[in-house]
Amino acid sequence: MRRIFIVLSIVAFGLWACSKKNDATPSDSIKILSLTSSANPVMAYDTSVITVEAMGANLQYGWVANHGRIKGSGKSVKYSACISCMGLNTITCKVFNDTGEVSDTIMIRVTPWHTKK
């Protein structure tokens, strides 16, 4: 009985932990025109401004960086990364409204930090 209780507890924890989903629906009424960065590659701790241009009504913007940090919100944000985020990183822009969502990505290479002279 005790063993059953332990096994059930482990299974319950596992099931609880495995509940992640993306319920965004694609939209035909939104179109991303461009996704650009002001600097690429960018040195660690420096900043690159990333801007999205999109068509659609009442648009909202979401941003995700797989490594590094995004500052600000809206259609233009600042991206920076520390030394532990060096490499080719992906920044995803999601544009959405009531009709759904579309997304695009831009790759930015983060290079080693050095003193500016």
Partner: protein
């Protein structure tokens, strides 16, 4: 005999979790660093609530300060953890924990801070009473366990994803094994603790990252100062291998080796309540690449212990007394 009991109570109220915080900014629960405990006896329940404040603000490269960055950043967190332990039998103890971050903040002057908050990880551990000899005052307690990323991950503010370093949950499973050995010598007790943790790949919708393996070794010195008051001194070495990211690329600025001193005071109150306070002080730090290093942490833990066998015996004695009266 009473001294032995008090000494074992000291350890009974001290749970240990496995996590990582020496690399100041990692996702998931921090390491709650109070002294480890042996397995509980049968039908004993312990419930404890721990609070921890952690602060970091100095960059390190290898074993020295790195002062060349043209800005200063700080990271700090306020964290609470609920832990339950139950002695299922005399040889098996089940332990569980659940963490919550009130905040996990990363600040750069002049820029809005990043602040994550919410439920962290849950954990389940099985601790075994492999060997106990009360005459020699020796006990050996191995543990296996697992952490579950039940909490908040992929957290966003204003539709912008927070960096992985301030996400409350680990985002991936962690597997842990450790062994705890304690031995009494006169008025002093010595204990040793060795732990290994394997972190599974974080493969969320937005992150692909794997923390390196973690090894922890600790030595504890325990001294019973006065009545219910005890002092623990802990020397602990935390080592973490480098992380990996997409395409098995090694993250050079990610491994570390830190030696801590953790002094701890514990007081036992009436009715099996215990309060302990402790702090983590890094004595030596080595970081690969350039990383923000661990600063300090202060923690407190309140624990209640319930012995169900003793309660039952007390209730039976009351019934007998009532009948005889």
């Amino acid at each position: 005999m009473r001294w032995i009991k008090e000494f074992s109570f000291l350890f009974l109220l001290l749970f240990c979790s496995s996590g990582s915080w020496a690399q100041c900014c990692t996702s998931g629960n921090p390491f709650i660093s109070d002294a480890e405990q042996p397995a509980l006896q049968s039908k004993i329940l312990t419930a404890s609530l721990a609070y921890r404040y952690s602060h970091s603000g100095v960059y390190f490269s290898e074993d020295g300060h790195f002062n060349e960055l043209p800005f200063q950043e700080v990271a700090y967190s306020n964290y609470a953890e609920l832990q339950l332990g139950y002695g299922v039998t005399n040889w098996l103890t089940v332990l569980s924990e659940l963490g919550y971050f009130f905040n996990k903040t990363f600040e750069t002057p002049g820029i809005d801070s990043y602040k994550g908050y919410g439920l962290g990880d849950a954990a389940l551990y099985l601790k075994f009473n492999a060997y106990t000899n009360s005459r020699l005052r020796l006990s050996i307690s191995p543990t296996i366990g697992m952490k579950f990323p039940v909490g908040v991950f992929d957290q966003e503010v204003d539709n912008v994803q927070l960096p992985i370093s301030v996400q409350p949950s680990s985002g991936g499973y962690k597997y842990m094994a450790n062994v705890f050995v304690s031995k009494g010598f006169g008025k002093i007790a010595l204990a040793g603790f060795a732990s290994y943790e394997y972190s599974q790949l974080i493969q969320s919708e937005n992150f692909y990252y794997k923390y390196g393996d973690q090894w922890i070794g600790a030595i504890y010195f325990n001294y019973h100062i006065w009545k219910g008051l005890s002092l623990d001194l802990q020397f602990r070495n935390e080592y973490r291998a480098k992380s990996t990211r997409e395409n098995n690329e090694i993250v050079e600025a990610s491994g570390y080796d830190v030696v801590f001193l953790t002094p701890q005071l514990t007081y036992g109150f009436k009715h099996n309540w215990y309060l302990s306070a402790y702090t983590d002080i890094p004595l030596y730090k080595y970081y690969t690449g350039v990383q923000m290093s661990f600063g300090y942490a202060v923690s407190a833990r309140l624990t209640k212990k319930i012995d169900f066998l003793a309660l039952k015996a007390r209730n039976q004695a009351k019934k007998i007394n009532n009948k005889t009266m």
